[in-house]
């Protein structure tokens, strides 16, 4: 080994340290928060397909989705025809459903927040909880390094003692290079895996790199799944809070 190569190596190492330090300085909390806001931006509009497969049936729903910050979102079913117009509004901690067949809006009672949303493997609580993830959990890096040839962080999220959350623990893997999440695993209070959220189809939509596809698999029923795919996604659209009103929830398009 020559002196020159040694110097180069040292320099490289120093350079690497210098370059990586800003990212190192990022707390786990900031990274998670950033990942959490990925698909939303300040406001967004998207076109999604949700394919649900269960032991007993499978179905596919096309939906349009709007969001404003973390507090508001509105989802409206476009097909199949039988369910066209069915809509869900999230405003703060409340979830409302609109049922076109009976032309009524119904607030989802607290007891059903853990119930399935639109028959999928997402819960009503999933629509609400994201706004609180950074407030309700403590974060730590449980792994940092290479997994299957990709540099990643793995985070462990433990609920704060007083936090009103349903999970006992959450684990999340994020790619270092582009801050893209690869999977999130949800555990119950006994430490058993309940479900896994897997991300894929990373592409640029609305000017941002996002995972266009999300797959939920419940741990107790490995043959069941829900796949959510974004076909269109625009950020920073012009909507305000009045858009996320019960009146607009009822409005047929």
């Amino acid at each position: 080994m020559t002196v020159r190569t040694l110097v180069t190596q040292l320099l490289n190492t120093a350079l690497l340290l210098l370059l990586s330090s800003p990212i190192q300085a990022q707390t786990a909390r900031e990274i998670i928060d950033r990942v959490d806001r990925l698909l939303r931006g300040e406001s967004s509009r998207g076109q999604i397909t949700m394919e649900i497969t269960t032991e007993h049936w499978s179905r596919s729903l096309d939906m349009e989705i709007w969001s404003l910050g973390v507090e508001h979102s509105l989802v409206r079913v476009q097909s199949p025809a039988r369910e066209e117009g069915t809509a869900t509004l999230k405003a703060g901690q409340e979830v409302w459903n609109y049922l076109p067949r009976v032309d009524r809006t119904i607030k989802v009672p607290p007891s059903l927040m853990m119930g399935s949303w639109m028959g999928s493997h997402f819960t009503n609580d999933d629509l609400v909880k994201e706004s609180r993830i950074v407030d309700d959990y403590d974060f730590e890096i449980s792994f940092e390094g290479e997994r299957e040839g990709v540099e990643v962080w793995e985070f462990q999220l433990t609920p704060r003692p007083e936090a009103p959350v349903v999970w006992g623990r959450i684990e999340e893997q994020v790619r270092k290079a582009d801050l893209m999440p690869t999977w999130i695993r949800y555990y119950d209070e006994d430490g058993d895996l309940v479900r896994t959220l897997t991300f894929s189809g990373y592409k640029t939509m609305g000017g941002r790199l996002v995972p266009a596809s999300m797959l939920v698999t419940p741990a107790d029923k490995p043959e069941e799944q829900t796949v959510l795919t974004y076909h269109e996604l625009d950020f920073d659209i012009s909507v305000d809070e009045s858009f996320f009103s019960l009146r607009n929830l009822r409005a047929r398009r």
Binding site: R104, K107, P109
Partner: protein
């Protein structure tokens, strides 16, 4: 044998030598018998009422499900699988069984009820308004409005649910339920009646719909049901009847599970076995007390007759003969007491059975395992308890005579005659 008859006669005569003492002892035993039979009768009455209230209200005494339905109660696990089964044929098969009094089909769903203002999660139960009253008293608990009519999108709610929803008779209720095809079934139903069962879990959570209306709401074929509730002649006999029905239905090749109320409400069945064990203890305590009384009198009786026994011994009677006569005295006393006991017990039993003691003033009752008990001391007839109590009485009088008899055999003629 002739010898034997002689000893019986001696025993009989001896008993009547001190008439008052014998009568007092015999009435002690007779009242013990009355007490035992009555105690058992009252607690049997409580049990029968608990079982009836536990089964008649909603459960039925026997239930049939698809074999994989319990305990998850997954809505897809209908009897006969996805295709279901021809209801008429299936119910007729069940009804053809000798012990089956009536059978009613049901379907269940979980869902949301909304009055507009308020929304509550509810357990939806689809019933056949014509068949259900033959199996359970559920529809008779409708306190306001009227029962259901099939095909008119009508709903019955518990009194507490009505309060929580802030709704009233005639109002429209939005019912939302996950359907068998994965979609969200939703429709408007009219509240036509409210029921009050006294059991909070039912009054707070249940919504009753006509079976076919619920099937339509949940996109289920009319051939698909979750449950058949069955009522049988004798509730205590349900496990055996369930077994017979299980064997019978195994011929139809539908993978079904037949459960009796003892499987479905184990805590109630547990209560019944506990009470039965308790009966046994009551009988033992009552006759245990009686035994000492009888033994005491008989012991005094034998001491009084020491000289007599000594004379009989001196005349050449074997000690065993003397012991025999004392035991025979006990047996005869037992028989007299049993006759007297039965004579006083039966009229009182008949009277209490027909006009039970009402304790509503002092107690408001309680509920066990979803079964309510009214504070009315209803007395049940039973064949078993008079026999058990009779046997107890008999054994008591014999056992109580054994020690005095043994003492009698130990009398030494010379000593006794010499007053030593």
């Amino acid at each position: 044998m002739a010898h034997d008859r002689l000893w019986w006669r001696v025993a009989w005569r001896n008993l009547w030598r001190n008439r008052l003492r014998t009568l007092i002892t015999a009435s002690g035993l007779a009242f013990g018998y009355l007490g035992a039979v009555l105690m058992v009768g009252v607690s049997d009455g409580m049990l029968v009422e608990l079982i009836e209230n536990g089964t008649r209200l909603m459960l039925g005494e026997v239930q049939v499900h698809s074999e994989d339905y319990l305990p998850e109660r997954n809505m897809h696990r209908t009897i006969g699988g996805y295709e279901g089964t021809d209801l008429e044929i299936f119910l007729n098969q069940i009804n053809s069984q000798e012990d089956v009094t009536a059978a009613a089909p049901r379907a269940y769903g979980g869902g949301l009820l909304s009055s507009g203002e308020e929304t509550q999660a509810a357990l939806l139960m689809g019933i056949d308004p014509d068949r259900e009253p033959h199996v359970t008293t559920l529809l008779s608990r409708v306190v306001h409005g009227r029962p259901l009519v099939t095909g008119a999108n009508e709903i019955l709610l518990g009194s507490e649910m009505v309060e929580q929803l802030g709704t009233a008779l005639g109002d429209e209720i939005v019912v939302v339920a996950p359907s068998s095809d994965g979609s969200m079934g939703n429709d408007l139903f009219t509240l036509v009646g409210t029921f009050d069962t006294g059991i909070p879990a039912i009054d707070q959570n249940y919504g009753l719909l006509a079976l076919s209306d619920l099937q339509f709401l949940m996109a289920m074929d009319p051939a698909r049901i979750h449950e058949v509730a069955i009522t049988v002649g004798n509730a205590q006999d349900s496990p055996r009847i369930a077994e017979t029905l299980r064997e019978f239905l195994s011929d139809t090749e539908l993978p079904v599970q037949v459960s009796s109320w003892t499987d479905l409400r184990p805590e109630l069945a547990e209560m019944v076995s506990l009470m039965n064990a308790f009966h046994f203890i009551v009988v033992i305590i009552i006759f245990g007390m009686a035994a000492f009384g009888v033994a005491n009198t008989m012991l005094i009786g034998t001491f009084e007759r020491r000289r007599e026994f000594a004379v009989v011994r001196a005349l050449g009677t074997a000690p065993i003969g003397i012991g025999q006569t004392v035991v025979y005295e006990g047996i005869v006393l037992g028989m007299i007491s049993l006759v007297a006991g039965s004579l006083i017990t039966w009229p009182i039993l008949v009277w209490l059975h027909n006009s039970p003691i009402d304790l509503t003033q002092v107690s408001s009752g309680f509920s066990v395992g979803g079964a309510q008990w009214r504070p009315v001391l209803r007395v049940e007839y039973s064949i078993e308890s008079p026999i058990v109590a009779g046997l107890g009485l008999f054994l008591t009088s014999i056992l109580a005579a054994v020690y005095p008899a043994w003492k009698a055999t130990r009398v030494l003629p010379a000593d006794a005659l010499a007053d030593r």
